[in-house]
């Protein structure tokens, strides 16, 4: 990928992409985690201890999504997802739930942004939060009753982008 093509097509400033991230977060949290998500101003100190997952996608669009959920919120929504008490969760379930949430958010977001495209999602990986430098990345923070949630999305290749 020639460097001059990278980030040529950006998500930041794309109104449809911004609206889609907001709508998808609200719908996924409500339907499958039985909670609510509302956009809020970014204040990232909580992300240092957040549970995070990264998921890559490729096909007609290539890029990645990073999800961070504040630790307490992660336990509460995992318990809600599984119908358990937070104390009953295993470490494995905590990690799998963040991976599953990132998978659902990313899949729903991409399908809605580019319904006619051909995309493949990678396997979500647990990872520390990372602030992506440079313009072109779409980032939104949400407040949920249990804590905070942050989503960043970026496109990493331009060659296959089809509108």
């Amino acid at each position: 990928m020639p460097p001059e093509l990278e980030q040529e097509y950006t998500l930041d400033g794309d109104r449809a992409a911004s609206d889609t991230v907001r709508e998808v977060a609200a719908e996924v949290l409500e339907a499958m985690f039985f909670t609510e998500a509302a956009l809020t101003n970014c204040e990232h100190s909580w992300l240092r201890s957040a549970r995070c997952a990264r998921i890559r996608f490729e096909g007609s669009h290539c890029g990645e999504m990073l999800l961070g959920v504040s630790a307490e919120a992660a336990d509460l929504i995992a318990a809600s997802f599984l119908g358990l008490e937070p104390m009953e969760l295993t470490d494995g379930e905590r990690g799998q739930m963040i991976q599953e949430l990132s998978n659902i958010l990313c899949g729903a977001m991409l399908s809605r942004l580019w319904p006619e495209s051909k995309l493949a999602l990678g396997s979500p990986e647990l990872t520390p939060w990372e602030e992506w430098p440079g313009a072109g990345n779409l980032h939104r923070c949400f407040v949920i009753p249990e804590g905070s949630l942050g989503i960043s999305v970026r496109l990493t290749a331009q060659s296959g982008v089809k509108e």
């Binding site: 659902i104 809605r112 495209s117």
Partner: protein, 131 residues
């Protein structure tokens, strides 16, 4: 009369979630079995009676596409309706899975109500005659 359901997904938390949503939906579930991929699912299907299958697509060993292909090639098992549950809601993927033999397709996120409606739809006459 309750239905026996086979949940095929490589994510244990997703299998637990689907079990939970089935319960919340009010859909009458009798035996609820699980498999982590298509290969395990075919083994379960040969050993147990199953009324309906809920399957993921991206799984190790045997993915959802190959699972549906083998299911539909089996003279006995092909009569069991399969509903795909996936994060991928692109038109191409939906069409492909229906062409491979899936009777229904649900994209995540979904609610207990939409799951029940989809199960009742794919079970069609079988459901109507039982209720």
């Amino acid at each position: 009369m309750a239905y026996s359901v086979l949940i095929v997904d490589d994510s244990p938390v997703m299998r637990s979630f689907i079990r939970r949503v089935l319960k919340l939906s009010g859909f009458e579930v009798g035996e609820c079995m699980e498999a982590g991929n298509g290969e395990e699912a075919l083994e379960q299907l040969r050993a147990h009676r199953v009324d309906v299958i809920l399957t993921d697509i991206n799984m190790p060993k045997m993915n959802g596409e190959e699972f549906l292909r083998r299911l539909c090639a089996d003279g006995v098992l092909k009569t069991i309706p399969a509903v795909v549950i996936s994060t991928d809601a692109t038109n191409e993927r939906i069409v492909r899975m229906i062409e491979l033999g899936a009777q229904g397709y649900m994209s995540k996120p979904f609610t207990p109500e939409t799951l029940r409606e989809e199960l009742e739809r794919v079970l069609g006459d079988r459901h109507a005659s039982r209720t």
